[in-house]
Amino acid sequence: MANKSESKKQKAESLHPSFFKATLAIIQKDLSAEFRSFELISAMLVFSLLVIIIFNFALELDIKVRQSVTSGVLWTTFAFAGTLGLNRSMSVEKDRGCMDGLLLAPVDRSVIYFGKAISNLIFMLIVEGIVLPVYSVLYNVNLFRFDLLGVILLGSIGYAAVGTLLSTMSAQTRTREVLLPILLFPVAMPVLLASVKASNGLLAGAEFAEVLTPINLLIVYDVIFIAIAFMVFDFVVEE
């Protein structure tokens, strides 16, 4: 008897998984699909390296210039590579009809948002995790500092949070891929500017307290936009 009710309970749980579990499932789905093909990460990575090479010649990154532009180059690279990844991760859902499947799942819609946003964030972080050491080696600057990595994490969170919401919207328009950067860049401007400001300060050897203001603004932005995206995501996927 007890066994029966237990299995019933299990069944109910598997039909209505908890918020956390469902989010995890979506992340797992994205990651395992990606680790089988590597099409997204490899595209973002190669693109990032190409952008850095272009910057190398466009700005003539000698030692003097490098000091002042490193954070700008890095963030521009991350932003561009980020749009590439965001576009791809959403259009895959759309093209293969996965989105409809996800929407049919008996879970809260915001689960889909958080799942997609976190897997987008993970992709961004993986690419950044490869670009940073490469940049460090190529230009002989040490980018592996906890404070700098913290800024990059905060910036990526904000970027992925807004980017996921906007890419869900742009994937449903006629112009699709073209539209995402146009929608995303002006709205994500505070993230990019505050991140550049904070990383620039840190790379120039400023104390942590000196860059606290942009970091605080980054945190404020992250919190506000995750909250907004959480509230409005329902309206974006509604059919």
């Binding site: 919207m169 328009t173 603004l217 907004i228």
Partner: protein, 231 residues
């Protein structure tokens, strides 16, 4: 189509009058500013258009929220009208500001927080139109538009705060762009022109909003008619 209601006709008439009076006050009535000279007169219209521009963006964000809550298409028409009218006014603000900046700062443009934020805000709302253009389903268009005005309305003030960090070393530019300095030194005649400018542009803004909302209703009718014909 229904004829223009009487109130709108009166408002049309009033708009023309107040625009004329505001022009007179700004160009003739207000005394010439001692330091900046004639070019300072641009300021009366600059503030007026900036005020209605920002007002429209705030109204659009509010209408966006109202649409998402009620799903009433009238809010969507209101939102489009507000964004469209405000984008134009805001563009005029930027152009007038540049005209003033050329002799005052010796450059058409600087990357001062206000200027930069204004440019980014304008770009947000241009992106808004591109977003709407890419969607055929009116209901979806309204939903996405509402979400985007909301995001834009929240992001613009944070952009301003962030950019201010970059320019904290140039207090003079910020002070001059501030406007409060001039306001404090305004003579009473200048103040008349200034406040009448605000009033005049508010009237013109309401008038244009009204027309644009009516146009929006017509557009919707046309879209529906097209659908019935194609069926």
């Amino acid at each position: 189509m229904q004829p223009r209601p009487l109130a709108l006709k009166i408002l049309d008439f009033a708009s023309v009058i107040v625009l004329g009076v505001a022009t007179y006050l700004a160009l003739v009535f207000a005394p010439t500013e001692a330091v900046m000279g004639q070019v300072q007169r641009v300021f009366y219209f600059h503030i007026g258009t900036a005020w209605v521009g920002l007002l429209g963006f705030i109204l659009a964000a509010a209408a966006g929220i109202a649409y998402l809550v009620t799903k009433d298409m009238r809010w969507d028409r209101f939102e489009v009208a507000a964004v469209e009218v405000s984008t134009v006014f805001f563009f005029i603000t930027i152009v007038l500001g540049s005209i003033w900046a050329r002799p005052a700062w010796n450059t058409w443009w600087t990357w001062d927080p206000r200027l930069t934020t204004a440019a980014i805000t304008e770009l947000i709302y241009i992106a808004y139109f591109m977003l709407r253009q890419g969607i055929d389903d009116p209901e979806k268009r309204a939903r996405f538009g509402a979400v985007y005005t909301l995001l834009g309305g929240v992001s613009a003030p944070i952009t301003f705060m962030v950019i201010r960090l970059f320019r904290s070393i140039h207090p003079i530019v910020i002070g001059a762009a501030n406007g409060t300095q001039e306001k404090m030194n305004m003579t009473s005649d200048m103040r008349v022109a200034f406040f009448f400018g605000l009033f005049a542009f508010t009237i013109i803004f309401i008038d244009m909003m009204w027309h644009r909302i009516r146009l929006g209703a017509l557009e919707e009718k046309v879209e529906q008619l097209k659908l019935t014909v194609s069926m």
